[in-house]
């Protein structure tokens, strides 16, 4: 069946109409007013990769239309650092799980790793082409990045390249990477729709999940590193065994594309950020569902029409999410 506009709208209305049932679970924690002329909306044609949170929910890093990378404390919204990247615009951001490191990919195909406390560049890496995705391992020892041609794993402290992982073909597509919480595995979404799991230190291929028909747009490991969650335009969350690549489970399908997945530290929940299936980069209407992994059911829901959800992280038992519209960023908690 072809996704049609009318059907999508009806499905979306049903999708969000139950939000009142969960209204008591959503709480506004704070807000940030951006400087004059700065807007949350991505420039035309650019996917909204403009904000990231550290997994410990302590920091938010943003890069909006003024080419200034800003680091904010959460949930207070206090501005900690601002870095003008106009001379070599930042294209992607990543905060380490503990918020100690901020990795910035630049238009010049370089990646700089900043120490957030001292606000100094700690390491610098040259990528062979534009960086499509990058991630720092939970123990802050490894950096992995993906370009159109390959994926590479580097040791941060020695700046030694540990592995070059060749992609099935140059796909010029969005890619997503995730390290397992135990730092032993690196997983990637590839253009051929497969999910590949590598040894994080050697780059040896451990498994390939090839059951998915569509590309995946979100990926995260469970807290015990024993499951891999992926989602995308197929509107469902697939649970994969990273050791053998077998599809273990599929969470009930929703009416929207999965654009982000974040697992909780206790392994009991996963937060999924959905967008309407109009277009993958249209973040103007997004919904967050908090899934109870044991019951395989939705325990909380967030949606605000016109608010683009930029990301989120678990803080204790609640999910802290950041969304925005115009020059305003807001921080909500969901539980």
């Amino acid at each position: 069946m072809i996704c049609r506009g009318g059907a999508a709208v009806v499905a979306f209305l049903i999708f969000v109409s139950l939000s009142a049932l969960f209204a008591q679970t959503v709480r506004k924690e704070g807000s940030i007013t951006l400087p004059a002329g700065v807007s949350v909306a991505p420039p035309p044609g650019r996917v909204n990769f403009s904000a990231v949170l550290s997994r410990n929910a302590a920091l938010l890093a943003t890069n909006f239309n003024d080419n200034v990378v800003r680091v904010w404390a959460l949930p207070s919204g206090k501005l900690l650092h601002a870095l003008d990247t106009t001379a070599d615009p930042a294209t992607r951001l990543h905060l380490s799980d503990d918020g100690r490191l901020l990795a910035i990919a630049y238009k010049s195909w370089t990646i700089k790793v900043w120490d957030v406390a001292s606000w100094k560049v700690q390491q610098e890496f040259a990528a062979p082409s534009a960086v499509r995705a990058f991630v720092i391992s939970p123990d802050n020892h490894l950096l992995a990045f993906a370009t159109d041609h390959d994926k590479q794993i580097w040791e941060l402290s020695t700046q030694k390249r540990l592995a070059v992982l060749h992609s099935p073909f140059d796909c010029y597509c969005l890619m997503y990477l995730a390290f397992s919480p135990d730092d032993t595995m690196l997983s990637s979404t590839d253009g051929d729709t497969a999910i590949r799991v590598y040894d994080a230190h050697t780059g040896t291929l451990r498994s390939t999940a090839s059951d998915l028909l569509l590309e995946s747009l979100a990926i995260d490991f469970s807290s015990d590193s024993k499951s891999l969650f992926v989602g995308g335009p197929d509107q469902s969350i697939s649970v994969i065994d990273p050791l053998n690549g077998k599809l273990r489970d599929t969470m009930p399908e929703q009416s929207a594309t999965v654009r982000g997945l974040v697992t909780s530290g206790d392994g009991k929940q996963i937060a999924a950020i959905y967008n309407l299936p109009k277009r993958f980069d249209d973040a103007s209407i997004s919904v967050v569902l908090l899934w109870d992994l044991g019951a395989r059911s939705v325990r909380a829901r967030f949606e605000h029409l016109g608010i683009a959800v930029l990301g989120g992280a678990f803080a204790g038992g609640r999910f802290l999410l950041v969304g925005g519209s115009g020059d305003k960023l807001s921080i909500w908690s969901l539980q």
Partner: protein, 210 residues
């Protein structure tokens, strides 16, 4: 102004070119020039997704009777950068329907087909629609082309008639941030009776050797 042949003669005379063959220098110059003419630029790549779906059916007919939209024939030849035909190439295409929607659940407007012995292909489809509410992103057809011994090509075909280009794709191609080069924008030929109009676009695909 020297001709190419004259330059080759001069190179031979000055020692910057040596002919080590049982054939005459003239014959080798002719072959040299012939091969130079065949040298082609590889088709520029373009982004894959994110709506690529694997296991597309083998078919050259994506259009079903009664489908809304302008009937469109896509055709061309698959070659390598030396101009040699790739008869073992496989082409996979996918696009939106007339209304700008991809079929995520099934395989409408998705197909895979082998080229014929002369590297030619022909696909019957409809002109893809613009993404709803995102008309700045141009109409396009995705291609994934494979051939043994050659680098897989992932690219997209755009149409010179797209309103975003305002009739001048060479000048206005950057209006869609996804279009990195005007080389992927092709002219459209309209044919048939006014009540049964159809469009045709030729798109040659040139693959690099591994």
């Amino acid at each position: 102004m020297f001709t190419r042949r004259a330059i080759l003669h001069k190179c031979l005379a000055l020692g910057s070119l040596t002919v080590a063959s049982k054939f005459s220098a003239e014959a080798m110059f002719a072959a040299f020039q012939d091969r130079e003419k065949q040298s082609r630029k590889p088709t520029p790549p373009n982004s894959l997704g994110p709506f690529y779906k694997k296991l597309a059916p083998i078919t050259a007919t994506l259009r079903a009777p009664g489908d809304p939209g302008l009937p469109l024939s896509l055709s061309g030849q698959v070659l390598d950068t030396r101009g040699e035909v790739l008869p073992d190439a496989m082409i996979e295409v996918w696009q939106t329907n007339h209304f700008g929607y991809y079929d995520i659940d099934g395989y409408r407007y998705r197909g895979k087909l082998p080229v014929d012995a002369s590297g030619q292909y022909k696909i019957e489809t409809v002109m893809p629609g613009h993404y709803p509410d995102l008309s700045r992103l141009c109409q396009h057809v995705h291609y994934l082309v494979t051939a043994p011994g050659h680098k897989t090509l992932v690219t997209q075909l755009y149409f010179a008639t797209d309103p975003a280009f305002e009739g001048d794709p060479q000048k206005n191609f950057t209006r869609d941030p996804g279009v990195h080069t005007p080389e992927l924008i092709r002219p459209v030929v309209l044919a048939g009776e006014p009540e049964a109009i159809h469009a045709a676009v030729s798109f040659e695909l040139c693959l690099e050797r591994l």
